[in-house]
Amino acid sequence: MAIKDRIENNIRTLRFMAEEMTQMDLAEKVKVSRQTIVAIEKSKYSPSLELAFKIAKVFEKPLEEVFQFIPGDSKKK
């Protein structure tokens, strides 16, 4: 079975390092619901580029330190 491309993230770790910021705090900072942060942390949802940048800005990190693109094994024909 082909493994799909996916986006992983370090939000949980970054929140912990940012004085244990809660999911609700982060959600309020980037103006989304807590459920959206939960889904992003669990890689159940890949955020828009705009939201990804906003999250990275909260942690004052470059985007690629927060989100990583993991290529799957799908082959282009």
């Binding site: 959600a27 989304v32 807590r34 890689s43 949802y45």
Partner: protein, 153 residues
């Protein structure tokens, strides 16, 4: 570990229960009052058109009012704000749910057209619309619940 149900999921469950109750109430009274003897086609159409319009206040009573009450109680109990519920994730899930509603309703629409071609009664035609509206709403909410649980990638 089983994760806690989110406010969006609770909202959808209220909507599903509200849909079941409101359509249940609608059908209970519709068939109680439906007396087709001596009805002309126009009377039949008027009866079901009126019934469809009655569905609006019924749904307000059984869906929107409980929804408002739920939000008030949820805020008092959890102190959690229901801000930004219509963010990009919510909107994407909602649009997938709406798409599913239209798939089901479209099937009902074609079903009603086939019923017309087969010379079925006005009652049958209207009820195909109503039934598929009901099934579509249910499918929309259940699919949104599924997407909130499984996520969208």
């Amino acid at each position: 570990m089983e994760e806690k149900m989110s406010i969006q999921e609770k909202q959808l469950i209220i909507s599903i229960v509200g849909t079941l109750i409101s359509y249940g109430v609608f059908y209970f009274y519709a068939f109680k009052w439906y007396q087709p003897d001596g009805f002309s086609i126009r009377d039949d159409m008027k009866f079901w058109a009126e019934g469809l319009l009655w569905l609006i206040p019924i749904q307000i009573g059984f869906k929107i009012v409980p929804f408002i009450v739920f939000h008030i109680i949820h805020h008092i109990v959890t102190k959690e704000k229901a801000d930004h519920m219509d963010d990009e994730y919510g909107k994407k899930i909602e649009s997938k749910g709406n798409r599913n509603f239209y798939y089901v309703f479209q099937a009902g629409f074609y079903g009603a057209m086939i019923a017309i071609l087969l010379d079925q009664s006005i009652m049958v035609i209207f009820n195909i619309f109503i039934l598929f509206g009901f099934l579509g709403t249910l499918f929309m909410d259940i699919s949104q619940l599924y997407f909130y649980r499984r996520g969208i990638r």
